[in-house]
């Protein structure tokens, strides 16, 4: 990457605090008591289903929305009265919001011109930013003459070129192919670290969130469900929603049975012994379910003995999907089970090429689940 900020002294990083924010669109309660702290220089992600309020939250930080309750602090300062242009918060809009009357170059140069940088410097930085997103050579095009992904990259370049203290990225890579996305992502991460920017990233791609973010906030219906490092969320989801949202998950209905210190989970397909960490402290939440990831199980022939540390349930293969690096098997088990996604099937992911032969739909198999990966979670 060409250095974007050759002449800029790195300014100290800022933190962002969102304090008990509520926001309505008319009668629509869009943000519910959102309370978050984003550390200086952190790369933070908002994750959540479509329509849960991620964009609204970003707009709040950027100054385009006003909280109806609560407040937002940037670098410890309440910004409620601060107009957007005084916040030094750069935002990549989900809708791009490119200016149709300007060329790519003019779009990207805009923010620098507003900062009254010398022509020379602007030219250099624009070229570097366009290079970063792989758009060198398209400087003179207008947005309407670009492909969707190219437009998205212009939107990204336009924001990062000004190197704002806070960078808000609203699905900035959704229309890029995996390879380019990976590259840009890494460049972004590097830029962010080099300049000490505080960045918030909205994405639907969990892999993306996991790779570049320090911490993630998972949202649902305008409320934050859990905040933590990617692995923490993945490995120790706080509730069913987080578990189900972060990667595919198998959810089994049933109830916890205790036998002294030992506990087990009784399902229609069999009783599964629970390790010590699987249960939340105290009573299991009402309506608790047993949760594990598709790749924490393996498939064996029903006649082979289960491996050490694995609990077994039996089923019949219903379908097989090819996902690239992995193969996904859908396995029908006892009628009382609810596979999170597949209706009445449990999903098992095997690395492509490592599955035992003969796993065609219809075959009876044994599902061996790593017990230390089991969780019992409530709503």
């Amino acid at each position: 990457m060409t250095a974007l900020a050759v002449d800029t002294l790195a300014t100290p990083s800022v933190d962002i605090a969102i304090e008990h924010v509520d926001l309505w669109y008319g009668s629509n309660h869009v943000l519910r008591d959102v309370d978050l702290r984003i550390e200086p220089g952190e790369f933070f992600a908002f994750l959540g289903p479509s329509g849960c309020g991620k964009t609204t939250l970003l707009r709040l930080i950027a100054g385009f929305n006003q909280a109806d309750r609560g407040r937002v602090l940037i670098a410890g300062r309440d910004v409620s009265g601060l107009p957007p242009w005084k916040r030094d918060v750069g935002m990549v809009f989900q809708s791009y919001a490119l200016w149709p009357h300007m060329t790519v170059e003019q779009n990207v140069a805009f923010g620098l011109e507003e900062r009254r940088l010398p022509r020379q410097e602007i030219r250099k930085r624009v070229a570097a930013a366009l290079d970063l997103v792989g758009l060198g050579g398209l400087e003179k095009r207008r947005p309407a003459q670009l492909s969707g992904g190219q437009q998205q990259r212009v939107a990204l370049a336009r924001t990062i070129v000004v190197e704002p203290k806070v960078l808000l990225l609203d699905e900035p890579l959704s229309n890029l192919d995996a390879k380019l996305r990976g590259e840009v992502r890494r460049e972004l991460r590097e830029l962010q670290q080099r300049l000490g920017l505080t960045a918030i990233f909205v994405t639907h791609d969990q892999e993306e969130a996991n790779t570049i973010c320090d911490r993630i906030a998972v949202m649902k219906d305008g409320a934050v469900q859990q905040v933590g490092a990617p692995t923490a969320l993945y490995d120790a989801p706080r509730n069913l929603f987080v578990a189900g949202f972060l990667g595919t998950t198998n959810i089994l209905d049933g109830r916890v049975v205790r036998d002294g210190a030992a506990a087990a989970f009784e399902t229609a397909a069999g009783t599964i012994p629970l390790p010590a960490g699987a249960l939340p402290s105290g009573e299991p939440p009402p309506g608790a379910k047993l949760v594990f990831r598709p790749h924490h199980a393996i498939l064996s022939r029903p006649d082979a003995p289960p491996a050490e540390g694995r609990a077994r349930i039996s089923g019949t293969i219903r379908f097989k999907e090819f996902l690239g690096a992995t193969e996904r098997y859908g396995i029908a088990v006892g009628a009382s089970m609810t596979g999170a996604i597949e209706g009445a099937a449990i999903l098992v992911d095997l690395t492509h090429g490592t599955a035992p032969a003969g796993l065609a739909p219809g075959t009876a198999v044994a599902i061996d689940i790593a017990t230390d990966r089991l969780h019992v979670l409530g709503e």
Partner: protein, 585 residues
């Protein structure tokens, strides 16, 4: 279609397959050409042809144009016209910009009212308007009399070219106001937000993002102002400025008994210069996009004003309105005045003038509403059709439709009137000459006002993203259905602006009407006004009729603004949407 021979070099992009246009488009274009031919080109051509003939012999010659170029007076007039037009555009912009921005980009209560009031100056009834103007701004007008009493100074609002610029600026700035407002209303909010986010605000934001995106509307308004000033004769004559092109043409064409081809030569020059101005303005916009709808976008929500800003905004609005509405206030007073002569205010007030016109006015009002609204509708339909053909199709020569239609703006009303008589009088419809039917008045009004509606529709269509039309076609809507269900609703603001401009100005049009009105029962308000305004005792009643005309148009305008406002609110991010603190336009 057969595949092209593979011998074509890979680098030269073969264009062979670019489909030109559908039969439907050809048909619409043909219909428009036919209309323009019948309603404009042929009638005007028969009159203006004189410009190309030698006086006396009638043989073809271009010597008249040579004479034009060699006549000092006319050369000076040309320059004066161009300068005055350019300066007027500047003044009109100054007056229109704040009103447009405040009422469209901000949550400003009374926006519809302000828009309506700001539009009124365009409706200046003939003769009385001039008198009213003199009574306020003239050398012996209210302002100067008061200034003279108090400070012993005199401001020459109405003297010379500066006076022309002032009066025309006040008179025509609504063109910019209307079209710019429409354009500003259509700008996606996220365009502005993106710029604010990058540190832009206030005037810079306006100058670099908002205004350029509203450019189609501004250009539409500004080019109308330009050509209007260029072609307007009433104001220079009122101010006794005769060395401008339009008055020269008029004076020469309407001199009795002298068959002077120079008047028609000037008309031709006027048409050419006006059309070049339009063509130039289009050139300035070429190669740019103005459609802001990308990926859903942010809606059209307005920004809320802080209390302090509200005060400033109201201050600006009131100041401008006071200036531009002074003539109308004077008109109102005139209509209520017993005698008003060389005094700041009338000697006394009376309702007698209204009583006097009461009997006559109902037929005038009905006729005016009928003619002007028919003309407005014709204009909007034609204007939208032409704009669509020019902007959305590949018809060869489609620009010509635009240019020919725009030529109407520069053709003096009398020329159209004479041309209509010449062309349509011989045609017999059920025993009476076609030219004597009132529908011909409508036709004349429509063709004269077509440029206004055309520019407004053109500007509006420039802001609509083509992909919205493609999406409709993709779902099975034919071009016609797409236009009806997608294009028309999306440019409805522009069409309304066009309709209002055409309607309002048609309702006070006189020059062409005076030739064509056959009887009092067919006469519109402007004609009634003329009849009164030829005698001293008719001044009050004339003013009363003028007020009636203005009120009439104002009510229609206000209603249509309400419609626009409501529609706009529906497309915004929601009535109770979030507000942005701070910010000035």
């Amino acid at each position: 279609m057969t595949p092209l021979a593979p011998t074509i070099s890979a680098e030269a992009a073969p264009r062979a397959r670019a489909a030109l246009a559908t039969p439907g488009q050809w048909a619409v274009a043909a219909a428009i050409v036919a209309f323009l031919a019948v309603a404009l080109v042929i009638p005007v051509g028969t009159v203006v042809w004189v410009a190309f003939t030698e006086k006396g012999t009638g043989t073809f010659t271009l010597v008249n144009f040579y004479d034009f170029a060699r006549t000092d007076l006319l050369v000076r007039s040309t320059w004066n016209s161009i300068i005055a037009a350019a300066m007027t555009v500047a003044l009109a912009t100054v007056l229109a910009l704040p009103l447009a921005v405040i009422t469209t980009r901000f949550d400003f209560r009374g926006a519809a009212l302000v828009q309506t009031l700001g539009f009124l100056p365009l409706i200046m009834p003939p003769f009385v308007g001039a008198v009213a103007m003199q009574l306020v701004f003239g050398r012996s007008g209210t302002i100067n009399l008061l200034l003279g009493d108090w400070f012993d100074i005199e401001i020459p609002f109405m003297e010379g070219l500066n006076g022309v610029v002032f009066v025309e600026g006040v008179h025509y700035f609504p063109f910019i106001l209307l079209n710019l407002s429409t354009a500003l209303r259509t700008i996606d909010r996220s365009m502005e937000e993106a710029a604010q986010n990058l540190g832009s605000s206030g005037l810079r934001l306006f100058r670099r993002i908002v205004f350029p995106l509203a450019m189609p509307g501004y250009i539409a308004g500004a080019s109308l102002v330009f050509v209007k000033v260029f072609d307007d004769l009433a104001t220079p004559l009122l101010l006794n400025v005769k060395d401008m092109l339009a008055p020269q043409a008029y004076l020469r064409i309407t001199s009795i008994g002298i068959a002077d081809p120079m008047g028609y030569v000037i008309s031709v020059v006027l048409v050419l210069l006006s059309v070049s101005a339009i063509a130039l303005s289009m050139l300035a916009m070429r190669g740019r996009d103005y459609a802001t709808v990308q990926r859903g976008g942010g809606g059209l929500e307005k920004r809320r004003l802080r209390p302090f800003e509200h005060v400033v905004a109201w201050g600006v609005v009131v100041l401008i309105l006071v200036i531009v509405l002074a003539p109308h206030a004077a008109l109102l007073m005139l209509s209520l005045a017993t005698v008003w002569s060389y005094s700041p205010l009338p000697d006394g007030f009376t309702l007698a003038h209204y009583a006097r016109v009461f009997g006559d006015s109902s037929v005038y009002i009905t006729n005016t509403l009928l003619y002007a609204s028919l003309a407005g509708i014709i204009d909007v339909v034609l204007g939208a059709a032409i704009a669509y053909l020019v902007l959305r199709t590949k018809l060869p020569g489609r620009q010509w439709l635009d240019w020919i239609a725009m030529a109407a703006v520069a053709v003096p009303g009398v020329v159209i009137g004479i041309g209509y008589l010449r062309t349509f009088y011989g045609i017999d419809v059920g025993g009476v000459p076609l030219a004597t039917l009132w529908i011909v008045i409508v036709l004349a009004l429509a063709v004269r006002r077509l440029p206004y509606a055309l520019r407004a529709c053109y500007a509006a269509l420039q802001q609509v993203s083509v992909s919205l039309e493609e999406a409709a076609e993709n779902l099975g809507a034919t071009k016609a259905r797409t236009i009806r269900r997608i294009v028309v609703p999306l440019i409805s603001g522009g069409m309304l602006a066009g309709f209002i401009s055409s309607f309002a100005t048609a309702s006070v049009e006189l020059a062409a009407t005076l030739m064509l009105v056959q009887s009092n029962s067919d006469a519109p308000l402007a004609y009634g006004l003329y009849v009164f305004m030829q005698s001293p005792a008719g001044r009050g009643p004339g003013a009363a009729l003028g007020v009636i005309a203005v009120v009439l148009v104002a009510v229609c305008t206000f209603l249509s603004h309400l419609v626009v406002e409501r529609q706009h609110r529906r497309q915004s991010r929601g009535a109770a949407g979030p507000a942005i603190p701070g910010a000035t336009g």
